[in-house]
Amino acid sequence: MTIPVEGFMYPNEVELQWSVLIVLYPFITGLVAGAFILASLERVFRVQAVKPTYRLALLTALSFLLVAPLPLQLHLGHPERSFEMYLTPHRSSAMAMFGFVYLWYLMAVLLLEIWLDYRRDIVLKSQSATGLVRFVYRVLTLGSDNISERSLWIDERLGYFITLVGIPSAFLLHGYVGFIFGSVKANPWWSSPLMPIVFIFSAMVSGIAAVMLLYMISTRLRRRAIDIRCLDKIAQYLLYTFVIDFSLEMLDLLQRIYEADESFRSLDFMVHTRLWKSQVIVQILLGTVTPIALLGLTQILKLTDAARKRIYALAGSLTVIGIFAMRWNVVIGGQLFSKSFLGYTTYKMSFATREGLLTAIVLMILPFLILWVLVKLLPPWPDADSLSVSSATPAHGTS
């Protein structure tokens, strides 16, 4: 397969090294971090309005986190050696810590917090259910079936503490992903100290938007009324975070334009040609400016509940698309130009290959399947109609 090249590329640069799967990696970890931050709003910052989404946000984060290493694993030339990163990590490598950061976030933060939050429900279910379901819940209790008031109080305090630790961990998880790109000095498209910060804020934006959409869809599927107060609050936080995110990205752009260093002409040409649609049209106009304007309108105008819901749905969808485009432009865009700044190559995405479009689509469907299973197993709904054990209310949780 001949790859179209314009100008001069170093001969080994023509073929792109990181494919659409590596686009998914920051996109998915971003959703994880963002969803967790939204959950922590209620838990730590006591924003009661977003309570209906608390558990859903946690389960969303877990579903995506479980899938996060898969695109990396599929991308490796030797996936069977990936465990070496745990056994003999090279300490100077920005990538070497991924496994540890991932495990920390999965084991010490998310799983623990979800378990503590659901423990009472799990114990009650393990007593009331029958057959295989009973066995599953018994396993999930991990042998701890004490749900006395004192015990639940300890769960609550411990859960609060874990969320406290979880917030910087979420920042670490995605800031770290940003650092993997931002620290590559050979690549001026990536190399920026702002990269980790931009990644963190864009993660929050995408996670908040995704949970907002999931809340709207799931509530509609359950034929329940959407808590508009909750939605208003989430949309408000989405707007604030988005404004910060966009400002940071524009700051980076402004700096590049004003400095106009040796790479600028080359990168500028790339944005005006190969990245025009994905960056200027999709990421900036459709995926950033439009949702910010829409969300801004809901703050200024007095709109009906129905109108606001529609606007939130549209803004949320555009936001998720825009953040995906941002990941695409970072990962793919960073490989389209030559490090000689004299030419450009092309990304040819294959379809049914290990790193093709089909794999990417399956990987993006997978978290939703996991979420579906988790929701069945651990219903996150505040009204708790799916659980037959919601009579007593713990200090925190299914109220």
Partner: protein, 243 residues
């Protein structure tokens, strides 16, 4: 066929001549090679390069480099008058088969051979998540292909575009400075075949190596010095337009 005494007498002189050629291609034994006594680099004398591509072919043959990938390659530059920031560069098939006649008139033309710079502070070594890429005590950047994950981070980190993923092994690959040869007292394949001596292996720790005299008496540069990688491939007569 039965070998008679007559046949044997005829064969022996031929075998002796053949053996002499076999010996000529055998590396001198170097049982006393000490890693810490060497610090390898290379000198590229740009005015001497004629763009014949012998080095690229020799490298590909010596190291079984797959088609379409390059451990070394040659670029042809055309710089029109004062347009030093906008050179026209080409490297058809890495310059492996040489270059077609130059149709550009005016300005200046020259060839630039490229290879791994065996950086002392190499970014590729820094980013390898498992340490499969490393700098040897004698200053050569190598890849342990039995350990490499194939994550391609090193390919991204190299500012010079010297690395690629070998499609057969699915691991990172690059110039080894013919480590299997230089540790046995031979020079690299590319230096050996260069008809003009434009490429010369240099032992920077050996005070008798002519590289020291050359560096003292010539204006020499490394590629992309602002990257601060400690590159050890030195270019004589390099134009400011070279990237």
């Amino acid at each position: 066929m039965e070998i008679t005494r007559r046949h044997l007498l005829l064969l022996l002189p031929s075998a002796a001549v053949a053996w002499k050629y076999v010996l000529a291609g055998t590396p001198e034994s170097a049982p006393n090679y000490k890693l810490t006594e060497h610090w390898w680099g290379m000198l590229i004398d740009i005015p001497k390069c004629i763009g014949c591509g012998s080095c690229v072919r020799a490298c590909a043959q010596e190291n079984e480099v797959p088609d379409g990938y390059f451990r070394t390659w040659v670029e042809r530059y055309h710089v029109a008058d004062w347009k030093i920031e906008k050179p026209e560069v080409e490297s058809p098939d890495g310059g492996k088969q040489g270059f077609p006649p130059n149709e550009e008139s005016g300005g200046k033309n020259f060839f630039v051979p490229k290879l791994c710079n065996h950086c002392a502070d190499s970014p590729c070594t820094q980013v390898c998540p498992v340490g499969a890429t490393f700098v040897t005590p004698d200053g050569v950047v190598l890849v342990d292909k039995k350990y490499c994950l194939g994550c391609r981070y090193c390919v991204q980190a190299c500012p010079y575009g010297c690395r690629f993923i070998n499609p057969k092994t699915n691991t990172a690959e690059k110039c080894t400075l013919c480590y299997h040869r230089i540790t046995k007292g031979l020079t690299t394949a590319c230096c050996e075949v260069c008809p003009t001596g434009a490429r010369q292996l240099a032992d920077l720790k050996n005070p008798k190596d002519p590289i020291h005299e050359f560096l003292r008496t010539h204006t020499v540069q490394v590629l992309k010095p602002h990257m601060a990688t400690g590159a050890k491939v030195f270019y004589n007569g390099m134009d400011g337009s070279v990237r």
